[in-house]
């Protein structure tokens, strides 16, 4: 009884420490976005601001074409999700039906193709995009980002398909369905949760990425590129950046909460079962 209480308090203590570690930087973003400008221009703004002031948000909405950057980011992220699912889902289905050892090697191969620095693939891609008139477009950014996001997406999808028993589509085929029908009407339907998780992962990756985005769309930038360019110009720590950061973070936090609800162990671990 006593031991149980000690154990539980130790658990809450350890979890509390981890929660603090996780939440403190997020709190800083909120703090700096809302604190009065005079209090931010210090390396260590007071942890409790003297007043809340939406000045930074006001600056962002007034002086930057915020909406156009925001829409470009959104568009790109959705196209990346689309490309990743369209290419990743069928491929993942095939991989999930391979012998274990072969599928493991294919997955590792996919990850290894990413081991080249983004800048090294980004520059030739940018010149190719220029020829195809895809520079400064969301499709151009999305194509480049998809090639990096695909391995993780495929990995998660392999897990999703693995968690579906093969006998379901097999018995459908015995009843006269074609392989393709079995895939569309059975496996794909049952893998919807996993596909949803994969969509969010691809989306998050695109929302975050700025090296490729900067190379391919230097004129019409996504939000992370905009923030980075502000910082690179030596205007780092400007209230505007923090306001951008905040606007960029809030919707995504909601997304992560949804993600963790659906990202059950059978999906993320399924590829290795």
């Amino acid at each position: 009884m006593n031991r149980d209480i000690i154990r539980k308090s130790l658990w809450y203590l350890a979890m509390g420490v981890m929660a603090f570690f996780v939440l403190f930087p997020i709190y800083l973003i909120f703090l700096v976005a809302f604190a009065p400008p005079t209090e931010i221009f210090r390396p260590n703004p007071a942890l409790i601001p003297s007043s809340l002031n939406p000045y930074s948000l006001y600056v962002v909405l007034k002086y930057y074409h915020f909406l156009s950057h925001f829409i470009l980011s959104l568009e790109t992220a959705f196209i990346v999700s689309g490309i990743c699912i369209a290419l990743g889902a069928p491929a993942a289905y095939t991989i999930s039906r391979m012998p274990r050892r072969a599928s493991y090697l294919v997955i590792i191969f996919l990850f290894v193709t990413q081991m080249i620095p983004e800048i090294q693939i980004g520059v030739p891609l940018a010149s190719a995009m220029a020829k195809l008139h895809l520079l400064n477009t969301s499709l151009g950014i999305a194509l480049a980002q998809s090639s990096i996001a695909l391995p993780l997406v495929t990995y998660v999808l392999v897990g999703a398909f693995r968690s579906i028993p093969t006998r379901l589509s097999e018995s459908a085929q015995i009843d006269g369905a074609s392989k393709l029908q079995a895939f569309f009407y059975i496996d794909l339907q049952l893998a919807l949760t996993g596909i949803f998780v994969a969509v969010i992962l691809a989306w998050l990756f695109s929302w975050d990425e700025f090296i490729l985005a900067q190379l391919i769309s230097p004129l019409h930038t996504t939000i992370p590129v905009l923030i980075y360019q502000n910082i690179a110009r030596g205007q780092g720590g400007l209230p505007a950046d923090d306001a951008f950061s905040l606007i960029m973070t809030i919707p995504v936090i909601a997304l992560v909460l949804i993600l963790q609800k659906y990202m059950r162990s059978n999906i993320i671990a399924g590829a290795l079962k």
């Binding site: 658990w11 979890m15 981890m18 929660a19 996780v22 930087p25 997020i26 800083l28 390396p43 260590n44 703004p45 491929a91 289905y93 095939t94 991989i95 039906r97 274990r100 493991y104 997955i107 590792i108 193709t113 081991m115 080249i116 620095p117 983004e118 800048i119 090294q120 693939i121 520059v123 194509l143 480049a144 090639s147 695909l150 993780l152 895939f183 998050l204 929302w207 990425e209 700025f210 992370p224 923030i227 980075y228 910082i231 690179a232 780092g236 720590g237 923090d242 950061s245 960029m248 973070t249 995504v252 936090i253 992560v256 909460l257 963790q260 059950r264 162990s265 993320i268 671990a269 290795l272």
Partner: protein, 288 residues
């Protein structure tokens, strides 16, 4: 002939996987080959000039390479420790677990630029929060410059782990939840201690999950760029990693030399991958 027949039987599977392979081939593998080719080129002729040029590099290519090789396991270790620790905690059924699970996942949704800004407040050279705490509890008497020298690697590793450990935690938690309870019960009956159970049951069962999580992260760690760009920026005292220096050379406009840097990076990566496949093949064939 057998291959043709097999291909016919699995036509759908082949058609399913081809688009992905072609896409990756065009967007990833082709640029890689192009880069290797470029690194051996000088004014349209094959030459080792670019590689000789690397010797004049500051910091030297050797230093940068060693830094990269040292940084990756260091960052992975921090990430892995945080992830395993949280996964083990979250694997208990205690009230409030799902709330904590949600909180732990939050950093995964924070963009790298954003987390870098937050951590630049923590790791500022003068009076940042990290320094305030160290001086406050008396561990240090002077301001630590978190973004220069080797300490910069520590700051980068912590800031990077903060954002990425949730994903590893999820993978490990998935692995933990797949271990049958009966194994622990049997071990407990045989009188195995908690530590023994952890070493003999948890770790071996978790092994494939640890391996895939490490591969996923090592890939990004080798190429880590966005975070140091913002966190330490153009701090001349930063010692650099290969991909960071690649970016710098690139901004200076020498495509051939940066292609040479990339080729060096790629060769290092390939050595590690081959070792990895060899080791995992050996262990894998034994345990599974």
């Amino acid at each position: 002939m057998r291959i043709v027949r097999q291909l016919k039987n699995n036509l759908m599977e082949v058609v399913f996987i081809l688009p992905l392979l072609i896409f990756i081939g065009i967007l990833n593998i082709y640029p890689i080959i192009q880069g290797i080719n470029l690194s051996f080129m000088l004014l349209g002729k094959y030459s080792l000039y670019n590689y000789y040029q690397l010797q004049n590099y500051t910091p030297s290519l050797y230093t940068v390479t060693v830094n990269t090789i040292a940084f990756v396991p260091f960052a992975l270790a921090i990430e892995f420790f945080l992830a395993l620790f949280t996964a083990l905690l979250l694997n208990r059924s205690i009230r409030g677990r799902s709330v904590f699970r949600s909180i732990i996942m939050l950093p995964y949704g924070v963009a790298t630029v954003v987390s870098a800004i937050a951590f630049s407040f923590i790791f500022s050279a003068t009076n940042g929060y990290a320094n305030e705490i160290l001086i406050g509890i008396g561990l240090s008497h002077s301001q630590v410059n978190w973004t220069s020298g080797y300490i910069a690697f520590f700051s980068i590793a912590v800031a990077d782990s903060w954002k990425t450990f949730p994903l590893i935690m999820l993978i490990l938690l998935g692995g933990l939840q797949m271990i049958p309870e009966s194994q622990y019960e049997a071990a407990a009956i045989d009188g195995a201690s908690q530590l023994q159970q952890f070493v003999r049951i948890t770790l071996p069962n978790l092994y494939p999950f640890i391996m895939i999580a490490m591969i996923i992260r090592a890939v990004s760690e080798f190429n880590i760029l966005s975070l140091p760009l913002i966190l330490v920026g153009s701090n001349v005292q930063f010692l650099g990693t290969l991909s960071f220096n690649l970016y710098e050379t690139f901004s200076l406009g020498s495509a051939n030399i940066s292609a040479a840097v990339a080729t060096v990076l790629l060769s290092i990566v390939m050595v590690f991958v081959l070792i990895y496949i060899y080791v995992s093949g050996k262990l894998g064939s034994g345990s599974r």
